[in-house]
Amino acid sequence: MVPEHILSWMIFCPLIGAGLILFVPKRYPTLMKVIALLATVPPLWWAANLYVSFDRWDNGFQYVEKVPWIEAFNIHYFLGIDGISIPMILLTALLTFICVIASWNINEHVRGYFILFLLLDTSMVGVFSALDFFLFYVFWELMLLPMYFLIGVWGGPKKEYAAIKFFLFTLVGSVFMLVVMLVFYFGSVEPATGLHSFDLTILADQSVHQSFLRNHTIRWLCYLGLFIGFAIKIPLVPFHTWLPDAHVEAPTAISVILAGVLLKMGTYGLLRISYPLLPDMAVAFALYAALFGLVSIIYGALCAMAQQDMKKLIAYSSISHMGFVMLGMSVFSNTTAINGAVLQMFNHGTVTAMLFLLVGVIYDRAHHRDIDGFGGLAKTMPIYAGYTGLAFFAALGLPGLSSFISEALVLVGSFQQYKIITITATTGIILTAGYFLWTMQRVFLGPLNKKYAELPEISLREAFTLTPLALIVILLGFYPMPVLDLIGTTLKHTVAMVVG
């Protein structure tokens, strides 16, 4: 059922699609779109297979592939997934499929758009399955190029600014990561071969670290370097300023990918790299990380409340929601919080994807996203209002919808370790409810804005992109075990290792 080299297939299937699109004559843009869609279907199918066959009780890596890549540096093409990666891989497979459909109305430079989009897909799956630090870094950086062009060419009025800001911010983070990566490479010796290593499973073994890598200052600086790199991606306040710009300018599908998948790379990186490699520093830094999370929750929510632009509102709400992930991940006294954090990563992916898709729908019709520019839309677009209502309620953490469970788990878990921080973070939920309900009221309720009396209802294609996400949001709201089952064993192991 699961083919051999399934992870490689998932990574390179989109790339094959991109290669095919290169040879489609210019006069067949629809054919290019169809190829792009077909290139994302097999990964979705394989992801479903992975979901079924993944061994929930194994705390090691599964579906491992390891081949030497560059012997001179002892670099391996080393893939494998555990409970932390698999929800992200499922999310990526689902969202890329949905985003190709959501990109159907792209009519400018169609070839370039879909080639870059598929390249982005390749790099994302690569990041979530790489187990060699070097390979991880290559995929991590590879994602920047397509993203720069996707925002810069197909974006809104200030696209150049947003694109370069995104690129510069992320690159600052990743060059620090590069330096830390090399310090770890030279600071560790693989016992079996006596060579330096990029292998994350080996680097996680603290006994391979050489004396200078046991130096407290070096470890501290290394942790800080990695943390800044990942914090920019998450993004935590005060490293967040690139995100609202990037979101506002990016086309709808790219916003979805950005918020749905790319932000998770930051928290994923912490779990995959920082925690295993520097567990002692992770514990030492936990309180600061929790504070970063708290500030992001509150600051993000307050900023969101002040926005007029719907996309900016969602961007700030993302910062706020990712703050919960950070808070949950900085608790090591129990596994509840970290389970909630990873579940929140998945839930935020689906909910924000819905939110951005919904904003895209209204923007395609009204050509603006000004919250005060609408009013009474529930009358003209009742189905659309229904979807939006669901997404908004999910985002503000209504019981019965997915985000409630993950945020509740985070708060319950973190309360045992950080009482005051957790209590303060809870106000973030109130603020979130405030701005989402207020937005709801201004856009959908009240007197109908005459200008938009004739707006067409949500189309079948748009509904098709939203429905699977809506179903997941509802299902996970009642029964989160499908995801919690996947992640539980690995996270238990992670926490034990960090504390241990």
Binding site: I70, L142, L145, E160, I164, L171, V175, V179, L182, F186
Partner: protein, 499 residues
């Protein structure tokens, strides 16, 4: 190593095959000169290209016939050494010369009247560089250094009647004369100290002299004077001022040549001069500076300043050739990191980076040449919206620029990883962090070009025509730029064998 009983080749006659490449190149130069006089040279552009390329390829033939390079295999009375460094850089310069000839062929900046001289000069500079990397004798080093230098001044000023080209040449000459004079003075100090011009012998004497306080001052002065010549050739701080003006004024293919050829020769000379003369050790691939001569610290500082200045100055350039000139200054700074690292690993990093740099930098200049020849100019403004007018050129340019930034999956990334690794291995963390931040700065100005090409609207609609030959040339440069980024094990093996 069959048939040669010992490493020192006593008879100069036996040594002649080792200078085969230079002899063949000289032959090619003479033929080109004669043909240029007899035939109406302004009509036969293509013929000169073919002859020059034949000369370059011919010069490689003796390389395969010679014995395996060895670290101490000297020839012609010990003037030259036949080691892997010599072998490798001879190949390197031939490849660089070949690409430049092809680039010149398609350039509209050099007209047919000047073309025959241009090919002659490119070959002659190549020959000078070949001699330079093989030389192990101060006198020979200086001769080769000047052969390369003086002929490249000529190349820069080749466009008769062009004021900018003349100005550039004059600046280059004045600066060059000053710095090589200074270097020669450094040579004379060492000669006075050791009484010989042979590098290995001097090296032994330097270690002894460093114990003596009076001689030590002499040595310090000599090191500083050496640095003047070498930092000038590699366009490093504080001898970089000539670089932007010369690069802007020279015809673009010649600029491309200067930015890879003499720069690489300068770094080869760093390895040739500084390691035997001013380091000790070598066991386990680590060296130490001769006690009391802390040139690595000076160079580390120079490296940091060079890359920072180069990158900061590049931000404000609107002329692409000036921008690339500053970028090449910055790259000299990156390359110095490998020299500073005082290890075989660092030297490998330098050589590896030079190979990568050869392809990506020539590539970027090739695109500049083609755009200028296709009706555009060298200003960034004329690259606006070029992505839709000349997609192939612009995608190639983007690849070269991303590689220059050092982003995966391009070769520049691997080269940078090598250099970063070298300084981190030596535990000079501050330099690694400076270089890392510089990468971010450089992203900004390289992206200005990418932005102009792809993110902005074209000002005119006409397509830029690129001939099939030029496309093939670009492809030949693109292939290694991409290929070495994805799988560089073969090159890694080659450079590991060198040191």
């Amino acid at each position: 190593m069959t048939g040669i009983p010992e490493n020192f080749i006593r008879s100069n006659l036996q040594g002649i095959p080792f200078v085969g490449p230079e002899i063949i190149l000289t032959g090619a130069i003479i033929i080109l000169l004669i043909v240029g006089v007899i035939l109406p040279y302004w009509r036969y552009r293509r013929m000169f290209t073919v002859l020059a390329l034949l000369g370059l390829i011919g010069s490689l033939l003796p390389l395969w016939k010679l014995p395996t390079p060895q670290p101490d295999l000297t020839y012609l009375s010990g003037l030259f050494v036949w080691d892997w460094l010599t072998f490798f850089f001879k190949l390197f310069f031939v490849v660089a010369g070949g690409f430049v000839i092809l680039l010149t062929q398609g350039s509209s900046e050099i007209d047919n009247v000047e073309y025959s001289e241009c090919t002659v000069l490119v070959l002659a500079v190549t020959m000078g560089m070949m001699l330079l990397v093989a030389a192990t004798d101060l006198l020979m080093i200086f001769l080769a250094f000047e052969t390369m230098g003086i002929l490249s001044y000529l190349l820069v000023g080749m466009r008769a009647g062009d004021v900018r080209s003349g100005e550039a040449a004059l600046k280059y000459v004045l600066y060059g004369a000053f710095t090589s004079g200074t270097m020669l003075f450094g040579f004379s100090l060492l000669f006075g100290l050791a009484g010989t011009t042979d590098l290995l012998e001097i090296g032994r004497q330097v270690v002894a002299a460093s114990q003596n306080p009076q001689d030590k001052i002499l040595l310090i002065v000599a090191v500083l004077f050496f640095l003047a010549g070498l930092l000038f050739k590699t366009a490093s701080f504080p001898f970089h001022f000539w670089c932007p003006d010369v690069y802007e004024g020279a015809p673009t293919p010649i600029t491309a040549f200067l930015s890879v050829g003499p720069k690489a020769a300068g770094f080869a000379l760093f390895i040739r001069l500084f390691y035997p003369l001013f380091t000790t050790g070598g066991e386990g691939g680590m060296y130490e500076a001769v006690s009391g001569l802390d040139w690595p610290s000076i160079l580390a500082l120079v490296s940091a300043l060079t890359m920072t200045l180069g990158n900061l100055a590049a931000i404000h350039q609107n002329n692409l050739k000036r921008l690339l000139a500053y970028s090449s200054i910055a790259h000299a700074g990156y390359l110095l990191m490998g020299i500073v690292a005082l290890s075989d690993f660092g030297l490998r990093a330098v050589v590896f980076y030079l190979v990568v740099y050869l392809f990506m930098n020539l590539g970027a200049f090739a695109v500049v040449t083609l755009v200028a020849s296709g009706g555009g100019s060298e200003e960034i403004d004329s690259y606006r919206g070029l992505g839709s007018r000349a997609p192939y050129l612009c995608v190639a340019m983007a690849v070269f620029l991303f590689s220059l930034i050092g982003l995966p999956p391009f070769a520049g990334f691997v080269g940078k990883v090598y250099l970063f690794a070298a300084v981190i291995y030596k535990k000079i963390y501050w330099l690694a962090v400076v270089a890392a931040l510089n990468t971010v700065v450089s992203l900004y100005y390289y992206l200005r070009v990418v932005k102009a090409m792809f993110l902005e609207r074209p000002t005119e609609a006409s397509q830029v025509q690129v001939s099939l030959g030029s496309q093939a040339l670009l492809l030949a440069l693109l292939f290694p730029t991409l290929g070495l980024g994805i799988y560089w094990q073969p090159l890694a093996k080659v450079v590991s064998g060198m040191f």
